[in-house]
Symmetry: C2
Subunit: 431 residues, 2 copies
Amino acid sequence: MAQRAYIESVAQQQGEQVTIKGWLHNKTDKGKLHFLLVRDGTGTIQAVVFEDDVSPETFQAAQKVTQESSVIISGTVRAEQRAPGGFELTLGELEIVQLAEPYPITPKEHGVGFLMDHRHLWLRSPRQHAILRVRAEVIKACRDYFDDNGFVLVDTPILTPAACEGTSTLFETDYFGESAYLAQSGQLYSEASIASLGKVYCFGPTFRAEKSKTRRHLLEFWMVEPEMAYADLEDCMCLAEEFVSYIVRTVLENRKAQLKLLERDTALLERVEPPFPRITYDEAVDTLRSKGLDFQWGDDFGAPDETALAEAFEKPLLVHRYPSQVKAFYMEPDPERADLSLSVDCLAPEGYGEIIGGGQRIADYDLLLQRIDQYNLPGEAFQWYVDLRRYGSTPHSGFGLGIERTVAWICGLEHIRETIPFPRMLHRLYP
Amino acid sequence: MAQRAYIESVAQQQGEQVTIKGWLHNKTDKGKLHFLLVRDGTGTIQAVVFEDDVSPETFQAAQKVTQESSVIISGTVRAEQRAPGGFELTLGELEIVQLAEPYPITPKEHGVGFLMDHRHLWLRSPRQHAILRVRAEVIKACRDYFDDNGFVLVDTPILTPAACEGTSTLFETDYFGESAYLAQSGQLYSEASIASLGKVYCFGPTFRAEKSKTRRHLLEFWMVEPEMAYADLEDCMCLAEEFVSYIVRTVLENRKAQLKLLERDTALLERVEPPFPRITYDEAVDTLRSKGLDFQWGDDFGAPDETALAEAFEKPLLVHRYPSQVKAFYMEPDPERADLSLSVDCLAPEGYGEIIGGGQRIADYDLLLQRIDQYNLPGEAFQWYVDLRRYGSTPHSGFGLGIERTVAWICGLEHIRETIPFPRMLHRLYP
């Protein structure tokens, strides 16, 4: 057989004999002609089988091959303007590696429950394939941004002795007689690491055992969290807008084909460049009230509030200085107003809600101790965290960006469940 | 104050006024002179404080500043051959951001238990800092290698309904009434993803609730796992040797200073280039017996066996075709000998043991079903996995590389506990 080629690069092999190893996506029979649509993970190409040009065995194989069968095809690459991608294959040989049974996901409409039960197969559909490519690009952009800007990756632990933000939404496991909890954030450990490395980021799965079933929630999701020594809220907001803009720009450059397939209107994404609009929590409350929403000062924003706030802007919106009472115990108070925290959320446009939460952390030993007490947190488990304020404490800040919400926004998806290969939701642990 | 600089790049700022934000690593007092060793995460620099050149307040601050206090220093960068790094700072100003309490980790020797209890502070020591930098470099090398060679990242789930390799070493958690287990591998999910993407890799934390306390084991560790459609054992071995060589080469190029600080003999690492020596399991058994070890055919290799096998070679060793009975249920049998599997382990030199395990997976539906039955695995939970053999099954292979063992080997560490920021071991869940 001819040399193996990948569909994404057949443009460079025009006129050559190539072998492609993939799966039959679809086919059309026209008597003496079969059109096989074959995909190999890097792209899709049409192979044309003409009865007069191939052996009887090959033609029979083309007749019997079923959707999603694994196939090895050989033939000549030809330019063909009408073909998607501009090239097709004049087929010479066809080997069916495994003849697929009748495939459960057909071109007809399927319910979401059915597709989720068949997620291991659903991943093969063009739309899911495109989302997975965008997700991988978003993650690479996150890592490249931090690696190229002086941040060092630190892998923070998943199994932890205590909860970062409340105990009611924790997955618990037995750790040889002790209780361990699945991490909801790596932040506290990143705070320890900045005194060694200056600027760090952690990037891993995080877990929230929330009994909520919304289009924005997963029980297991990935989060990237930068943390910087000697950095205040202002530094944190600047980093957030630079970082988010870099991610969007990178996807626009490298994943055009996928965004097109997803029918994403990229005009709005093209506008995502620093600076982002910034409003205070107080201003946000005024805005909501002026829109006729009945919002109580001191509450946290719900999804409809976030959507209402973001819709006035074409870029992501930074809302800063939330009341301390709606934020975690470690948030630095605003020196100008003790009831506010030096916190910031970044709300994506188009109703995608919060993609970033962060701010400046408490640097003072006594204040942190007092907060741990106020929040009824187990002092023992936080001893090491408090230590950080005894030995070279610095003003420091950071944030967490949720990967799945960012992918949902960039891809323009209605529901977050399609942004991760195997979503974990309430009553959804399979496959 | 002068513009902020980072120590790693002061060489470009010779003669300039700069400000550095960091921590006091150490100091020497010589009457009218103080030598402050300051680190900022990117490096360490000596600041010279001469009483006649600075304000009385600054000189007093230099007198009272304690180990690990956070400090902001300003001064002029001067070339100084005797200084580590070749530069020092003639100090003009010194601000103590937070005066550290007496630091628990002093230059004297500390026991490992004490250091592990203070891991959140121990990370700041030059040795731990160097290891963390190497770790980050290893991980970046892994990702770059796969991203640049046509693999797509897929994040496989941590919370899973069933165990990949036996059930005795699983962390279990309640998932709203169901039992969920922390993943020991992402492989089965990667196998589903290759039919969409061709070549994939997953990279995340994995968990083994093993009651063992050796210098090679962690309960939580990171693993990178490539998986390829249309790939056999030979492809798998070629990928392994190319991949491992790339990681080692990248660290040698980019982390010279850290390897030097760790006193790593890099001559042995320089030799790590493809091809790696390859021996069969049968040959390995003969080797062990010829060395006088009492080894039973059909057993798995223990740490002493791995060390004995590897010591004859200067490069990592590929051992292939283990008996099926010591490998997981999904291993493809050797068509030439049904009692062997198409598996491969990669053993690092110098006694570091197995860093890679992998091989070719079963492609046939009936055989896979039979194995699941033989291994007493819950058929229901594996239904989706078996499905992959009904719809476009291909010969496919892949492996997992353990990050911590790889870092231990490259750094030349005696114990794996120093390779991860916050190790999780038997009875070690804090900090």
